[in-house]
């Protein structure tokens, strides 16, 4: 009993420290080069967490989430220009509206895509992403087409500019984490995990699989859409092929894989490791043109050496160490007593 309390206390303290660090970061390291990387890193923390709500919990791998990212960006851009919103802090308040619009389109896409399973689902999400990209490119009157869409540009000084965006991304990432944590502990979350393990059995047992899957999909898409909206505002100008970008979609997935699918902190860890590394690598080694090969190599190493991700692998190690201690002086450790097979992979507390 006491050990459990100690673990929770340690976890709570770590959480508080992490949060405090995240909040004071822009004041401790106000250098724009750093805050810029911070903006993109926290952005990916949010994206990975949001993707995990669908992919990690239900097991339905969506490779087309970049569609929602771009859609959210376009939604905000069009809202701002339609209502003539001035640059500054006001646009941030329209981000939730962009999120709601993204949720609406996610319902439509999800309803179609979720009729399929597993591999077909993956490909259908990719197809939907390309469809949205085509729409963005060709509905020129609405989106500006290939010439792109402009956002109002705040007249903040170079030193201050990144900070509001950093906090906007941080708020969204924390929102995503909170939602993810809440889902984990709820019956809804249990249902999602059941779907991941064996959907037909879950259906037989009475889990409303269609409704649950669609809900998870829409929540995930809405978060991604809001993050995309802030991104569009940050870079101030978006194009269809750059903002609905398969690389963004794949990066999210890779980060969750690296960190650990279905865990809460896995996506965070994955994002915090991969995004700054990628930006730094491109800045310093891009010139050698082998940057893509290098990235792919890292990618492959991660996947082959840590197939379950960092968090579950680390948890395994810790659990094994604990069992070893609990085994006592004889050193006998019984494997069959622990790690109950019925518990879905990744459902252990992160």
């Amino acid at each position: 009993m006491r050990r459990v309390n100690r673990t929770s206390a340690v976890k709570g303290a770590a959480l508080a420290v992490g949060l405090a660090l995240a909040i004071v970061l822009p004041f401790v390291a106000p250098d724009p080069a750093t805050t810029n990387i911070a903006v993109f890193t926290v952005m990916y923390v949010g994206l990975a967490t949001a993707w995990n709500i669908m992919g990690g919990y239900t097991g339905y791998i969506s490779l087309g989430h970049a569609a929602f990212f771009g859609f959210g960006a376009y939604a905000l851009g069009l809202l701002l220009s339609h209502f003539g919103i001035e640059a500054g802090f006001q646009p941030f308040f329209f981000v939730p509206v962009a999120g709601v619009l993204t949720a609406v389109i996610a319902v439509a896409i999800g309803w179609i895509a979720l009729r399929t399973r597993a591999a077909t689902f993956v490909i259908v999400t990719i197809a939907c992403m390309f469809m949205l990209q085509l729409l963005a490119e060709n509905l020129v009157g609405l989106t500006g087409g290939g010439s792109g869409l402009s956002f109002p540009v705040p007249r903040w000084s170079g030193d201050f500019f990144n900070i509001p965006y950093y906090f906007a991304m941080l708020v969204l990432a924390l929102l995503g984490l909170a939602v993810s944590w809440w889902i984990r502990g709820s019956k809804f979350g249990l249902g999602l995990l059941a779907i991941r393990d064996d959907e037909d059995k879950a259906l037989a047992v009475g889990v409303p699989t269609r409704a649950f899957k669609l809900t998870a999909f829409v929540i995930s898409a809405m978060l991604v859409g809001m993050i995309g909206a802030v991104y569009g505002y940050y870079v101030t100008y978006i194009y269809p092929q750059f903002v609905i970008d398969p690389l963004v979609g794949i990066s999210m997935v890779l980060m969750v894989f690296l960190g650990g699918m279905g865990t809460i902190w896995g996506p965070v860890l994955g994002a915090v490791i991969l995004e700054p590394a990628q930006l730094w690598l491109a800045y310093n080694f891009g010139a050698s043109r082998l940057y893509l090969v290098f990235y792919a190599a890292v990618f492959l190493l991660v996947i082959l050496l840590l197939p379950r991700g960092i968090v579950p692998s680390v948890m395994d190690l810790i659990n094994r160490w604990r069992r070893h201690r609990a085994a006592g002086p004889t050193g006998r450790v019984s494997d069959t007593r622990d790690a109950p097979r019925a518990v879905p992979r990744g459902a252990e507390a992160p």
């Binding site: 810029n36 290939g146 100008y237 978006i238 891009g286 043109r289 893509l292």
Partner: protein, 406 residues
Amino acid sequence: MRKPVSLIVAGLGLTLAACGGSSGGGGTPQSGTPITIGVSVSLTGDFSGDGKALVQGYDLWAQDINAKGGLLGHKVTMKYVDDASSTQQVVTNYQNLITQDKVALVFGPFSSLLTIPASTVVDRYGYAFPEPAGGGPQVFSRGLHSIFFVQPAAVEDNLVSFTKWLLSLPAGQRPATAAYATQNDPFTQPQVDKAKSLLEAGGITTASYKVYGTEPIDWTPLAQQVVNSNADVVILGTQEPDGVAFIKVFQQQHYNPKALVETTGPDQGKDFADKVGAANTEGVMVPAGWWSSAKAAGNDKFTSEFVAKYGGAAGDISADAAEAYSVGQVVDQASAKANSIDNAALISALHSGTYQTIQGPMAFDSTGKPNGSSFLVQWQNGLTVPVYPSSAAVAQPEFPKPNFAA
């Protein structure tokens, strides 16, 4: 790593300054200190071919300016970073260059696609942004005053010379119909659309007008539609691969328009001739802001040095390299005029006066848009020559275009 070196040089510089070197303004480096100019170029990704040409142009300029003693006495080092042709990276790069590496000046990246997001970053730090390749209408409509597009004409005016020439043909010869096909890209579409409105106003009927996405792999159906329109004249808003593909289809279908102009493709020199077949280049036109044997400030020197440094023939030099070189020339003249390399001083200097570059003279309005026009170049006997307007022309325009090889 750079710090101890620059301290030493600064010390030397101070001594030199005492002997009568020029002085910088408020926050500018001491005279004689070497400066770094930062550029984000596309070394990987979709634009990497153009990125490489930009680097060649910038490097050649840096070499020339250092031979002259530097930019207002400051030796120039170029620092290049790769933006992988991505928005995220280009925004990150300019922030890093300006705030972390603290470069003295920045030059622009390739294409409006990357220039536009980069321009807001550069502007908020008060840096001047002379750039060689972002000239689409949106570049100038964002209310920024620090950006300068170093080409003779804004992108949408590129085909104006062509339209003027076509409309100047005597009534008996003038074509009656025109077909248009363009990518919906900020470089190609504005030019073609403007040309279309000018030609329609001049009485040339539009037989076909098609806009296509930047992604289709197979341009055959599109080219087929142009063929089926049977227009006298064809105006294509293409990049290089589609420019070549259209000509191949025209040849396959035995379609021979009286005039054919493409926005990019025919300006790629030997590469273009190899791909379409040397015999098929005859008569094809392309707008250009620079040409290898034009009489413009420093052009002879540029072409001979380029060939000496990088090999190849003068006719194969990419216009991207010339545009990059011009950026350097403009900054050189502006800093001499303002007697400072301080960014604010450069910005105000660049808004007035005329600058002599290897692309000809140019001047910028308050949004950084150049107010000149490009000229029309045509393939004749395996070489590209300017043919219109007469002030730039070296040969007469060939009309009608000879048929493609059967």
